[in-house]
């Protein structure tokens, strides 16, 4: 296949990837979008194989390895519970990062096949590109592994900080740059290996000081990194599919991190420099002054909701923990049979990753036209009889509007306090992610339902 034809096919697959992301602008077109993505990938792989035109032993191995990897991937994809999406994404990112490192190593060891020169005499531009690709890939790999371990609970979620941390990171950064320069001058192999080793270390050091709960931002950031790594390798391999994809993925990750930080009203640096989760414990103990709360049970809740004309459901992280989405859906079905109007209100940072609640509700067959974003539903709380807050906390905390000292000050919140009565399903009075007390628990029109979200919801359904 001629270089020109090959380039055209890569362009086509780049365009198909654009269309894949474009499809996600609405649920109706999203499935078609995913399909475009698959075709784009098939084209890219197909033409690459054809362009090499080597159908001997190597080709058989290729198919075997594709099959092995593919089966593992397919197996994971089918088995993974929806609540484990955050760690799945982290895990997958680590693989992309490592793959980028491997490709860079291979290009370094055998530059002729990529037209980059000869071992010991690689073009400087290519050397810089592949060093960048390898370094970013390596950071993505170890960083994602740490994020995965923290999210999976295999490693403590609390930030690990030590003296001189930022200084060490800075020093390692400087060393990395020095290595690249030295490598370009001498083309010594051991320098390349050192570069990769140090990058692995940097990945670990960058992520350990960040609290487990900040991992979603980290994942997005690493997603963005993996994109830039791919683009770097794309420049090395002179492949426009990789360059286009890298740019797409790079911007996508950056924008999602931005959206999350904005949703939490924190600056990106505040998240990345870490150590935030540590404040949790201190503020937890301060605000406990034993104010009276109204404590209810499933029958009270069922009575209130049955007699309501409209109910708004506010799901949060606790719903994911309790896997309560199916129970919730059944409760809503019963309510609807009783003629109650029900809708769902999703805060942009409810749960632990962007769109987390939406996926869970979709899994429980909640039609997406009953699910509303904050801006679209926030005015409706004033006319609603009951707000059923299930495992959410921070996203309803009015302190975000009133107390400039609070860490969530300025974050937009769902105005559940405006509804006639508020039901809070959670297991205790303990705070949520931000580690601050929620004044709503002690209000006149709030009823606390202390229990696991799933159990409580099921009991309410029975009483209905």
């Amino acid at each position: 296949m001629s270089a020109n034809l090959l380039a055209i096919f890569y362009l086509v697959s780049g365009v198909l990837f654009i269309l894949a992301l474009r499809g996600l602008s609405s649920p109706e077109t999203s499935r078609r979008g995913n399909f475009y993505g698959i075709i784009g990938m098939a084209i890219a792989i197909g033409v690459t194989i054809l362009s090499i035109g080597n159908f001997s032993t190597g080709f058989v191995f290729l198919l075997v390895f594709l099959l092995i990897g593919g089966s593992i991937g397919a197996f994971i994809a089918f088995k993974i519970p929806m609540t484990a999406m955050p760690e799945l994404v982290a895990g997958f990112h680590s693989l992309v990062g490592l793959a980028a490192v491997f490709v860079a190593i291979s290009a370094f060891l055998n530059p002729e096949v990529f037209n980059l020169g000869f071992p010991g005499n690689i073009k400087i531009a290519s050397l810089i590109e592949m060093s960048l690709g390898a370094a970013i890939g390596a950071i993505t790999f170890t960083g994602s592994v740490i994020a995965f371990l923290k999210l999976r609970g295999l490693m403590s979620g609390s930030p690990i900080t030590f003296l001189g941390q930022h200084f060490i990171n800075l020093a390692l950064g400087v060393i990395l740059i020095g290595l690249v320069i030295y490598l370009c001058n001498t083309q010594k192999e051991y320098l390349f290996w050192s570069l990769i080793a140090i990058s692995f270390l940097v990945g670990v050091l960058l992520i350990i000081p960040i609290g487990g709960a900040d991992m979603p931002v980290v994942i997005s950031m690493l997603n963005s990194y993996s994109g830039w790594a791919a683009a770097g390798i794309g420049f090395t391999l002179e492949n426009s599919a990789l360059i286009i994809t890298g740019a797409l993925v790079g911007s996508s990750g950056a924008i999602l991190s931005y959206i999350m930080c904005k949703g939490m009203n924190r600056s990106f640096f505040n998240v990345i420099l870490g150590g935030w989760g540590a404040t949790e414990d201190s503020s937890k103990s301060v605000s406990k002054e034993q104010k009276p709360v109204k404590n209810g049970n499933a029958d009270d809740a069922a009575f209130l909701m049955k007699n309501a004309s409209s109910v708004i459901i506010v799901p949060g992280y606790g719903m994911a923990v309790a896997q309560a989405q199916h129970a919730l859906r059944e409760m809503v079905d019963s309510l609807k049979k009783n003629g109650v109007k029900v809708s769902y209100a999703i805060h942009p940072v409810a749960g632990r990753m962007p769109g987390h609640m939406n996926v869970l509700l979709a899994e429980a067959n909640v039609p997406y036209d009953e699910v509303f974003e904050l801006e679209d539903i926030n005015n409706d709380f004033a006319n609603c009889d009951v707000a059923y807050v299930i495992g959410a906390n921070d996203v309803t905390n009015p302190v975000a509007k009133t107390d400039p000292q609070s860490p969530i000050y300025g974050m937009p919140i769902l105005d559940v306090e405006k509804s006639k009565s508020v039901l809070f399903v959670k297991r205790s009075l303990s705070p949520g992610y931000a580690g601050i007390d929620n004044d709503l628990f002690y209000r006149e029109n709030t009823l606390m339902l202390f229990a696991d979200a799933k159990k409580m919801t099921e009991e309410i359904t029975k009483s209905l």
Binding site: L24, S25, S30, G40, M41, V96, A99, S106, A247, D333
Partner: protein
Amino acid sequence: MEIDPFIFRLSIFILAIFVGYYVVWSVTPSLHTPLMSVTNAISSVIIVGAIVAALAGDNNKIFDTSNIFGFLAIILAAVNIFGGFLVTHRMLAMYKKKRKDK
């Protein structure tokens, strides 16, 4: 008066960043989780580099160090490709409009 192909690639890269910026902002927030998994899948297009690394070069020594790295990269990328697209598909299949429920 020939222009270095690098400049063209740079142009492509910059324009693709613009496209990425707009295309991602236009994704509806309720699909942000599938967005993360699908970007993951497509970033595995790095597999094209892995294939070249694994197959190209001398036919007789297919298990040269550099080829081995290529094959390893193929496995990793394949996990991502299949895993990423399938899990995205699984998620997207769940998003339904109100109809005769279930």
